[in-house]
Symmetry: C3
């Protein structure tokens, strides 16, 4: 539970706000590289942390994310023409580079134009591309940005990776909290059969998991998720964030561990994967205070993601959502997530199709900005509590001029998340060592 | 005419407002029983007096109207699963009864859960069902609600009754005032023929009333409505509200009386019915300060309402409207009530089809909240003036801790409204006695 | 560049604002005469300067523009019945003339009605019809309006004229500034061929202008527009506004002059026409502070506008737009003006079809109300700067009780705009004299 002031601090990310100031010290995903597919392609509107920009890829392939306002008379550069290494305003032809430099003022005499140009620069974010994502850093033009965070999905070859994004109509922080909260798998993502809760499955998207004598090992895990709604949490802090460990009972005295990474300021690596599985992660990127982009990353450390799996992800499996051409989920606030009460009675606990859509519905349902001043937290909320503490500390650091957690530890982002079935008496440290080995160690020393 | 302050008092019904405080002392219609048709059926959203709720019918058939916010982390219980005598939150499975009691916290250890549960109750309205309507009372959980008002439509067998509702996009009070204002029948509901106003009819819904030598008696009444636009009003006060009596000229020295009941705080029994006719009534229930539900009741004291009449009412005859599956009229503010200017020239005074739709259009047209600080009232507005006085007095009573009019006189709601053609020299008391006999007497002594 | 206060003054036109007070001293176009095509036709809603009205044409053909609120109980007179020289309220039948006089109160006894009527008048604007336009003057009922401005388009026979209107979703002043800014023709309205800017043409609406050896004279002008993005401005002030003269280079030492009229408070006569061409003009009429009607006038001083040209204008050529039945352009803010990025690469500088649509897009893109506190003006903005000064002076005059510029000089509106190719050493005065002769002289002495 937060005070009203703490809740405001956590959730507001506009210019000058404490959390917004912290966010602006990190590299942040701004859009997918494929949204700007080729040199001189169509400019696109981008809104980040409450600020509007226009993004374009110039003739040399460089991406610019610039303020959309022409300094001449304020026309919007979104309507501009992307030509010959610059974006030209549609009104009188003023031209700007990806760095925001004004390089042509054709409606003034040459001497006047030369005099005006130095004043006519526009704001441009620092930009880098990695992992099929366009990253932005909000520092001043003359500041040197920190190194990019070393996410594993950015290090693997492109064929081992698939990325996407989806729009969510609520504040970033409650959506992020959903990603740190494995406890809700026992209900929100549960399936139903004959009036009884059964393991997680993507309702209607495929055959239901079969249970019973011949249950395959990876289905047992889904059953344990449904059966133990009160996993025991342990949270470890590291140089870029938190490792959230949650243990559930199994059919014997072993424990089923799900381990989630929270990486500052707004990333999570999802649990759910055993060592052989595709890894999944998200960034919860504020558009403004009542909406966010959720960037979705899937990758495999060792092998390509095949066509079939790639198609399944693109169609909205797992943390991905079924989206329209603007990356807005087809299931959304306005249509009650296409919930079916019949399905809720017979097929799944929510009657909403899709893991992502279930997460989205419940986060939206907390309001445009969740009220954290009235809550009754219990121990499965420990991850959420630690997330809030860590985020608020970063906000305070940023406001007091200190570097917030992780910014100068890019190697600490080289971590993994995942699941393990371990001996009941293993310590958390032993479980972590067994599951992640050096990968965790690298993070700790990152 | 009201002062700005009086107009605010009359029209605002949110928590803590004077009128809202008065409303919260009465049993109020919350939804139709058929909106919750069976045990464990789909929960529905309900908004009343500016407050949001979720309504559900549990396994035993009991209806709950509860605050929609799960006390754990604030997820919306609308998405919850209605199962085994309780509504279970979709996020982590907390479960609540129709009385708002928390009976399961599955993501906490049993001892913690037991400790949390007493703090985890949610607000629940007092609920009763009568007359195919779910009634709500806003008092505290430990308060004893007053008896239900003894409306005749609730007392008759179900086959003698038909109820419905319709949405209106304006403040409750001006919609209610329209229901107390029989004077407007001479214009708003008039038909047109050859450029002359003729009796009320439902434009385009059926054959026009024929006039002339063979005019049937019930059509003469419609002609008198059109011909005398200035009925003389007398208003009598009783233990639950007001009896509004309006006399119009006829073809001889008799008078045509229309008598409307206003019952606190927001009900009216419509005139228009002679003793043999189906009776009609409405409740004007604030959703928020700029919209309301209009509940519609039709009943016959002595005989069933047949299939044909029932179908006609369901299709939007009389005080009922043609509505979509969300009870929103097909003719509405956004489409100018499907007004036809051609029809306005040739068929009806407004060019809008349907008595209800005409009422709706004119109330909406007064603005989202009518401005009563600039008006030029005349004597046909006497009923409206008395309504405002009575409502404002109740608001003051409620704020000063007195029981507002009618709350403790449930029997005073056992009254009727209706029409009569009477001798020109009969007193109002004689007319009332002749038309209602003991039914009015019962009310007076209710 | 303006101060924040100046920008507010320029852009706000509601009751009591300085600019709004100035506007209310001028005759202003309220609607097209053809929107009220016949006696007793359908009433229409009109919003002007932030105030709502209902307009109707009575049985005798007179137009009334009256406040929409019935003084009885506030019902909206838009739903009223237009009958027998008056608009009758749909609620209780109160009836009002085009002058706002109440002439019937049928729900009161005759003596009461007679007493109420003098208090029951409603506000009515002064109205005149000229040039197929309904003009309104906002002065008090007992004030004498000034004479109508003597626009040439109103003086020519109807067959020499075509008028229309289109809706724009931004403040009036920035749309008007676009009309005073011929410099933008070099970019906003430019065509593209093989990656090079070519002369203005209506992208996709007809064959592209051919360039080269056999270029017709009127296409050379379009090429000069594209080639010289920095025309030299001279601004002359006269008794009703400003004459804005802009000179561009040609293929030899002559200059290509485009001369625009700004006429107070919100009219412009467009350049682009040589003496033999159809003349074009606009009024930028505030609906409220974030939208305006743009009235469009086309006329020829000497000959009828033929069917073919009339059809072309009605379909949206030149300053006219392709509009729906409510005069809202089909290309608009919500659909990004149906911009095609492919067309932007290959056909036109903006990828937006239509001169009017291009103007509309760029004005909208400056925001609902353009921020003039941050600008980098250069010499092609001289016309815009003078416009602002002239408008702000009128606002101050109006607030201090002086007659703002032009109100009492109706003859000064009898001016023309247009183009000329002149000797390079001709003075502006010589150019003006050559192009306009006595027409300009008449204006100066008007």
């Amino acid at each position: 539970m937060l005070t009203l002031e703490q809740n405001e601090t956590l959730t507001k990310t506009g210019p000058g706000t404490p959390m917004g100031t912290a966010f602006r010290r990190y590299w942040l995903p701004a859009l997918l590289s494929r949204e700007l597919p080729a040199p001189d392609c169509d400019p696109v509107r981008v809104k980040l942390l409450g600020e509007e920009f226009v993004a374009f890829r110039d003739t040399d392939g460089r991406v610019g994310i610039v303020e959309p306002r022409c300094p001449h008379r304020g026309a919007n550069l979104f309507f501009g023409r992307n030509e010959r290494c610059g974006l030209r305003c549609a009104y009188h032809g003023w031209k700007f580079t990806t760095e925001g430099k004004c390089v042509d003022i054709p409606n003034a005499a040459p001497d006047v134009a030369a005099r005006l140009m130095p004043q006519a620069g526009i704001r441009a974010l620092h930009v880098a591309e990695a992992g099929d994502i366009v990253w932005a850093w909000f520092g001043e033009a003359d500041e040197t940005p920190p190194p990019l965070p070393e996410f594993e999905f950015m290090a693997v070859p492109p064929e081992q990776r698939f990325v996407g994004k989806k729009f969510q109509q609520c504040n970033w922080a409650q959506a992020c909290e959903g990603g740190l909260d494995t406890a809700h798998f026992s209900y929100l993502h549960a399936g139903m059969r004959n009036g009884e809760k059964v393991g997680l499955h993507e309702a209607g998207r495929g055959p239901r998991p079969s249970v019973g004598d011949n249950e395959p090992p990876n289905l047992a895990r889904l059953r344990w998720l449904a059966e133990d709604g009160a996993p025991r949490f342990t949270v470890l802090k590291h140089a870029a964030g938190l490792l959230l460990c949650a243990a559930r009972s199994t059919d014997d005295d072993r424990l089923y561990w799900r381990m989630t990474q929270f990486l500052m300021p707004n990333h999570s690596l999802a649990p759910g994967n055993f060592p052989e599985d595709t890894a999944l992660a998200n960034t919860w990127m504020p558009v403004d205070d009542t909406s966010c982009w959720i960037f979705c990353y899937a990758w495999h450390p060792d092998r390509p993601i095949g066509e079939k799996e790639r198609a399944r992800l693109a169609a909205g499996a797992g943390i991905f959502a079924e989206v329209d051409e603007d990356y807005v989920p087809l299931s959304r606030r306005e249509n009650d997530y296409r919930m079916s009460r019949t399905d809720q009675r017979e097929v799944s606990f929510t009657g909403i199709r899709g893991i992502s859509e279930q997460d989205q519905a419940i986060a939206d349902s907390q309001g445009l900005i969740a009220d954290r001043t009235r809550e009754l937290l219990c121990q499965t909320d420990l991850g959420v509590v630690r997330f809030r503490e860590t985020a608020l500390a970063a906000a305070q650091d940023a406001m007091e001029g200190r570097t917030p957690l992780g910014v100068d530890h890019p190697g600490a982002y080289r971590v993994r998340s995942g699941d393990l079935v371990a001996r009941g008496d293993a310590t958390v440290e032993e479980v972590v060592q067994e599951r992640f080995g050096e990968h965790w160690g690298m993070a700790a020393g990152g």
